[in-house]
């Protein structure tokens, strides 16, 4: 019987791995997700078999409630709000692992104190720490992303010192737990410190750095599951947990590289603040405006167009009218593509999902490294709701806070049109040199409205 269950766990682990492998190819990705889900069902079914006396009613109700909430949320959530959902779910994952670790602690303390050996206690302490940090950290990230809490970094004097003291207190309390595992009070101290640490590590991080934070918390939620696997000596938890842990770490690295920041630098926080202080001086940029009709004419006469979308496009809900613009251009045999910066949107790959939702074929979405050389022989670049990712200051101005960040070479194109609500600064609070370039024209107004007008102008021309 036990062998059968172990084999079921093994099969589930293999299915998770195959599922992730399939996720590497866009056409197979959906299949991969199903394979992974089948693995999950097998793992759950096998676990239900191991339970000798099944308290089915409670378990059934819990699963029903969880499924209903998960299903409802997953079907209702808008694609612009996926980062919030992922942040929230990271938190749930962390809290679940945390609760399992605590449950196991209480169970062993009340039934078999001797089974709380050093290895077991270490696993429980690690699980409590990672689980609680993931939970409160994710909640803060969720509130920041959702605008319920200001996206500005929250810093105060002695913040790093406080974190350090909390860590020391955590280690001290852990030692006390080892000395007397039956003392619940020490565990409670550990819980409180861990919950605080989660909040304190995320509040100093600004909204622009949230893609890094949710990637990192994604990794933590996997590590939390992994730690729970050590408590229960369960291999499927360890395999699945480490796959998620690895995934989150890779995405974190990609995001850091795309912003030319080190992880330590992101975690220390306060990015937006220092920038806002330094960005005020410097000459104001003189810009040239363009109207809707001229924009339509420029599109009409171009033979190649690259669109640079940013989160502003999604906020204005302009992606659908951009698809219409694409259709107008393709009628005229204009080569029409999208250049996707790795940090476009609010989480890794977010822009691709938003454009896919607008029914734009994924082979039109080109990554930065693959399209950057093409800008110099492109007639027209259309920047919609993006700012920092096309700021040439990242290449030319060592004084700029974004200096060194890899950017899209939009400025190299023959003509650049920037669709923008007003002359505000980008998310990083930096003046954009591009807007003052001789080949750059500003199309002011709400992106959705102005582009709709451009499209109707183009329809009239045809």
């Amino acid at each position: 019987m036990t062998i059968g269950i172990e084999i079921a766990y093994l099969i589930a682990s293999v299915l998770f791995i195959i599922g992730i492998k399939y996720l590497g190819k866009t056409k197979d990705a959906r299949k991969g997700n199903v394979i992974s889900a089948v693995g999950m069902v097998i793992a759950i079914a096998a676990t239900l078999f191991t339970l000798e006396v099944l308290t089915l009613l409670e378990i059934g109700i819990a699963i029903l409630v969880g499924s209903a909430i998960g299903l409802y949320y997953a079907q209702k959530v808008a694609m612009t709000k996926i980062p919030e959902m992922v942040a929230l779910f990271n938190g749930f994952g962390g809290l679940a692992s945390f609760a399992v670790a605590l449950s196991d602690y209480y169970f062993k303390r009340d039934t078999d104190l001797a089974s709380l050996d050093a290895i077991n206690l270490t696993s429980i302490i690690v699980s409590v720490l990672i689980g609680a940090v993931t939970f409160t950290g994710s909640m803060v990230a969720y509130l920041k992303l959702d605008g319920k809490v200001s996206g500005q970094p929250i810093t105060f004097k002695g913040q790093h010192l406080l974190n350090l003291l909390l860590l020391i207190a955590f280690v001290a309390a852990s030692v006390l737990v080892f000395l007397d595992p039956s003392q619940v009070n020490y565990i409670i101290i550990l819980i409180v410190i861990s919950l605080l640490l989660g909040i304190l590590t995320v509040i100093p991080i600004g909204g622009a750095d949230m893609p890094v934070v949710i990637s990192l918390l994604n990794s933590y939620s996997g590590m939390a599951a992994c730690a729970t696997g050590f408590i229960l000596s369960n291999n499927v938890l360890i395999v699945a947990g480490s796959l998620v842990g690895a995934s989150g770490i890779i995405l974190t690295q990609i995001m850091c590289k795309a912003m030319n920041r080190s992880l330590v630098n992101v975690l220390l926080g306060g990015f937006g603040q220092t920038v806002a202080a330094g960005g005020a001086d410097g000459p104001a940029v003189v810009v040239k405006e363009i109207g809707v009709e001229e924009t339509a004419m420029l599109f009409d006469s171009a033979s190649s167009v690259i669109v640079v979308p940013g989160y502003g496009m999604a906020v204005a809900q302009a992606q659908h009218v951009i698809r219409e613009l694409m259709e107008q251009c393709e009628k005229r045999n204009i080569n029409f593509r999208f250049a996707i910066h790795p940090v476009a949107g609010r989480m890794p790959g977010h822009m691709n999902v938003l454009l896919a939702e607008a029914n734009i074929s994924y082979d039109k979405l080109i990554e930065m490294d693959d399209i950057n050389d093409d800008f110099s022989n492109t007639d027209l670049v259309f920047v919609v709701g993006a700012n920092d990712v096309v700021n040439p200051a990242a290449r030319t101005n060592p004084q700029s806070p974004i200096f060194g960040m890899p950017i899209l070479n939009a400025d190299k194109a023959r003509t650049v049109i920037v669709s923008k609500r007003s002359m505000g600064k980008g998310y990083a609070g930096v003046e954009n040199e591009l807007f003052g370039y001789p080949n750059c024209l500003m199309l002011f107004g709400d992106a959705k409205q102005t582009i709709t007008k451009v499209v109707s102008e183009m329809k009239d021309m045809a």
Binding site: L48, S221, T228, L232, S361
Partner: protein
């Protein structure tokens, strides 16, 4: 837990992490958002631990309640994660 049992678990951890790094670095940036929501679902594997924890009869009610809370949360992760990932992947089309 014995040291040798621990070592086996660490083997699994190291090998699975390595495999994870290899596989995930091949996922194209286009799919990074579904990858994250999909891995959210996979991290719901804690559901296995939650099932074991919530199935204690009589012993300590606190332990059982914690297990049930974990069970609800992990189920949200599993169901919500897989469904939203499928919803996204369905939209990725090539014309």
């Amino acid at each position: 837990m014995s040291i040798s049992a621990l070592i086996v678990l660490i083997y699994v951890l190291v090998l699975a992490s390595y495999l994870g790094f290899e596989l995930i670095s091949k996922v194209p940036p286009t799919l990074h958002t579904p990858l994250m929501s999909g891995s959210n679902a996979i991290s719901g594997i804690t559901i296995v631990g939650a099932l074991i924890a919530s199935n204690e009869l009589g012993y300590s009610t606190l332990s059982k309640w914690l297990g049930l809370v974990a069970l609800v949360l992990a189920t949200i992760n599993v169901v919500g994660g897989y469904v939203v990932t499928d919803r996204m992947l369905k939209m990725f089309k090539k014309k």
